[in-house]
Amino acid sequence: MAPDLRTKLGQVELPNPILTASGCAGAGRELAQFIDVSKIGAVVTKSVMLAPRAGRPTPRMVETPSGMLNAIGLQGPGIDAFLQRDLPWLLSRGARAVVSIAGSTVEEFAELAARLSDAPGVTAIEVNISCPNVEHRGQVFACDVTDSGSVVAAVRARTRRDIPVFAKLSPDVTDIVSIARSCVTAGADGLSMINTLLGMAIDTETMRPVLAGLTGGLSGPAIRPIAVRCIWQVREALPGVPIIGMGGVLTGRDALELILAGASMVSVGTATFHDPSATVRILRELEEELARRGIDRLSDVVGLAHEMRPAGRAAGSVV
């Protein structure tokens, strides 16, 4: 019998735990040429802002060992175009839409949440707090305990009760658990982790930085161990909080690793660039991985590694 892959995104039930990662699937339309977007757990859309945005200059990308750096700068059409064009399209295809939002002030996040609450069909909101806060000298929200909490509180307050709010955390912090706790205290229904890590590449021929914006976010299998560690630490500290795990998932085995660490959903990002049908392949592989181990229900393995520490080692800090 095929394992039961159903999972909970807050109060909402998803048929399976495999999602796209924000910024790696647009709003689903292009991917629909390769996959049936209604077959995966949900489509997490590119972070949308209030106004249209042109993003950063090029070059915006460089390949690195088992990964890539990107500096897109949240290019997008803004919330009006998203609500007019992208969201209705996703719904017409029977896809579940998790809408990622980004802002440069707390109020911008709140306004986006309100706009999405008025629109029918939003399955959940993912709050991309890895943005510079213009009211705090450009300090990234996700790197500050208070700012993270303020954004989440403002979003939760303006979001319809039946729409879960997930806060997306950055791994570029000293103590991810304190940020996670602050978001949950502020009302987050769950956490997404991890966003990219800040990195940089220099072309040794031209002797110049490769990216026009100098630094970029590192993603892909290169960061998977960091994702596993972050998910582990947060699950350990906040065992009841649902987690969307992401970071370098290329296969069903990789997805299972994040699930064992504590994720009950898994987003697939960079892998999609390698294989446009990665999400549905990973879903199939995950099902096989579970079946091969005789596991009937996905929920039985979420966070299971916490109960299966290496033999002969005391429980406690993993650092």
Binding site: G55, P57, R60, M61, S66, G67, P77, A212, A271, F273
Partner: protein
């Protein structure tokens, strides 16, 4: 291609193809892959994105190559031409017949072809000439005449010089070192070729500086020009936004458009060549762009309307 194939907008496919041959032609490698669906959907100017490095590769991003040719043999083959520049193309050059290759394609917008039988000049730089021969076939089917102007650093890097000479009404070759044809670069002789061939439309593919100069000259002669650009791409299918460049739309608004799906073919005069690598201040979504657009006309806003039948 026959006209009873799939709809032109049937969209790209992801195909596990089989390598038929890998050949050396001068400075280039030419790879032919059995990939029926891609061959059937192909139109000149489109490209494929190839996964490199095999299973468990550390090279996650696909490499993009213009499609040189498609043939009906073996159910449909796709051919592309490449030079070895880094690890990905090195890996490709080491492939052998019968090995599998994962391709997505055909990607991007093809070259638009004119409605009328006009005089077309096809300008290629280095491997940039690779997509021009399939285009030439299509143009000739339409009753157009085709002249070629191909250039490269040296004779071994001019791809397809023989074919151009055999099939073109005229073929002009330039090399920087003078080892083949005229010494110099294509834009040194472009004006003369346009004059001799009474060119109505230019199609160009090659390095960005060449495309920029070809566009500038085409504007001077008031000839519409279609260029196929090459921007670094992470996904090739329109989801990542890495491959953007500033292009003026038919509404006069500059947008950072994706060269993988909105291109790679653009009307040359619509591309803001001087602003590539920047976000122009008046670009859609640039900080303060709306106020700027209201206050002043677009800088360099004299873009030509072009001729009917060449809209991009």
């Amino acid at each position: 291609m026959t006209s009873d194939g799939p709809e032109p907008d049937a969209g790209p496919l992801q195909v596990r193809g089989t390598i038929l041959t890998v050949r050396r032609i001068d400075a280039y490698h030419v790879m032919t892959v059995v990939a029926p669906g891609i061959a059937a959907r192909f139109r000149p100017g489109q490209f494929v994105a190839v996964a490199v490095g095999g299973q468990d590769t550390s090279m996650l991003l696909r490499r993009c190559f213009s499609i040189h040719d498609v043939r009906p043999d073996h159910g449909g083959t796709v051919e592309f031409v490449f030079s070895v520049v880094g690890r990905g193309t090195q890996w490709l050059a080491e492939r052998r017949p019968r090995e599998a290759l994962d391709l997505t394609g055909p990607l991007g917008r093809p070259f638009p072809v004119p409605r009328d039988p006009v005089s077309c000049l096809l300008v290629g730089g280095g491997y940039g000439s690779s997509p021009l021969f399939a285009l030439a076939d299509r143009l000739r089917e339409r009753g157009c005449t085709v002249d070629f102007l191909l250039g490269a650093a040296s004779g071994d890097k001019v791809f397809g010089a023989l074919t151009a000479r055999r099939t073109g009404r005229s073929a002009t070759i330039t090399t920087v070192d003078g080892s083949l044809g005229v010494r110099g670069i294509v834009t040194d002789v472009l004006g003369q070729v346009i004059h001799d061939a009474r060119t109505d439309v230019i199609y160009a593919c090659g390095p960005m500086p060449m495309l920029r100069q070809v566009t500038a000259l085409a504007r001077r002669y008031d000839i519409p020009v279609q260029v196929a650009v090459e921007e670094s791409m992470a996904c090739g299918i329109g989801v990542c936004m890495t491959c953007v460049l500033p292009v003026v739309g038919s509404d006069g608004i500059t947008r950072m458009v994706r060269s993988c799906v909105d291109g790679p073919v653009f009307r040359g005069e619509r591309v803001r060549w001087d602003d590539i690598g920047t976000i122009p201040l008046d670009a859609f979504g640039a900080p303060g762009w709306e106020q700027r657009r209201l206050r002043q006309p677009r800088p360099g806003g004299e873009h030509t309307a072009g001729r009917p039948g060449h809209g991009a």
